[in-house]
């Protein structure tokens, strides 16, 4: 499968989707002007990945900030991951960032995927 490797910018997150090496990560800041457009390739990649996923998929979110339009797309990503067995979400947050921790908890309540919470 094609690898997605996008560097982060002031308003868009770093994205790594690498099936061969088993690295799946979205990190940094997410406030793109058009979040549907920005995350479309991610959703398409996951659609493809669903057909032949690895036995285990650890998907990491290490976000400093995301706007509400991104939160909808994050939920869409999680919904796709929900359909893939062997998936775990690793939700990172700064140890003093209660809001990010809470956001992760809320997402974990909206989908049936095990979440692991880690500080950094």
């Amino acid at each position: 499968m094609q690898i997605i490797n996008l560097e982060g910018t002031e308003d868009t997150p770093k994205i790594i989707l690498d099936k061969t090496n088993g690295i799946y990560e979205i990190s940094g800041r997410s406030l793109p002007e058009d979040s549907a457009e920005f995350y479309r390739p991610v959703l398409e990649w996951l659609e493809e990945y669903t057909k032949k996923p690895n036995p285990s998929t650890e998907f990491a979110f290490k976000l400093e900030y995301f706007n509400t339009a991104s939160s909808k797309l994050i939920l869409d990503i999680l919904s796709k991951l929900e359909a893939i067995s062997g998936t775990t979400i690793i939700w990172y947050f700064h140890e003093d960032d209660e809001d990010m921790e809470e956001a992760g908890t809320e997402f974990s309540e909206l989908v049936e995927i095990p979440f692991e919470f880690k500080t950094y």
Partner: protein, 174 residues
């Protein structure tokens, strides 16, 4: 008398690039006074939602319409709080729906806002403008305060929508 300090005021056209610049300026300002991380984050959050709302809804106005350039954004700070204010023209037809949305949000407590947020994120679709319909809720949640708003008619087609969000600072001796 509480002295109100205006940190930043911007009037004109609002775009993603402007949003990024305004955010960067506000971040630098808060860093330079050693503002607490948690407060910085909340201010940033509210700013993004506020600014991106203006950008989205500026599209309602014709490109040649001079009103399009009449949006305003301000950050004020006093001893107890950051005050984020925005103003932008909107069509009269939008007033009832905006008003009722904001009144609904103001009527909810913390738990109620969380429930509404989860309901909309799960069941709502992105609007044609790419909005999730969650911006105001997020602003209310992050600030922990009621949103203050007003609609002032400009002319036969438009009203001026102003919105004020207050983010309390922790009590720090300056």
């Amino acid at each position: 008398m509480i002295e109100r300090n205006l940190i930043l005021i911007y009037e004109g056209e609002f775009t993603q690039e402007i949003t990024k610049s305004v955010l960067a300026m506000a971040e630098r300002n808060m860093d330079s006074v050693g503002e607490e991380m948690g407060i910085k984050r909340k201010v940033f959050n509210v700013m993004v939602e506020c600014l991106q709302n203006i950008v989205k809804h500026a599209d309602d106005l014709e490109p040649h319409d001079k009103l399009r350039h009449n949006a305003i954004f301000m950050i004020g700070k006093d001893q107890n709080a950051y005050i984020i204010t925005s103003g932008n023209p909107i069509g009269h037809d939008k007033v009832p729906i905006l008003s009722s949305k904001l009144e609904q949000i103001n009527s909810l407590d913390k738990e109620g806002l969380k429930t509404l947020y989860k309901e909309i994120i799960k069941n709502g679709d992105l609007s044609e403008k790419g909005g999730a319909g969650l911006g105001f809720i997020d602003m209310a949640r992050k600030s922990g305060q009621k949103l203050e708003f007003d609609f002032e008619p400009i002319d036969s087609e438009f009203s001026f929508f102003s919105l004020k969000t207050v983010i309390p600072r922790t009590s720090v001796e300056e």
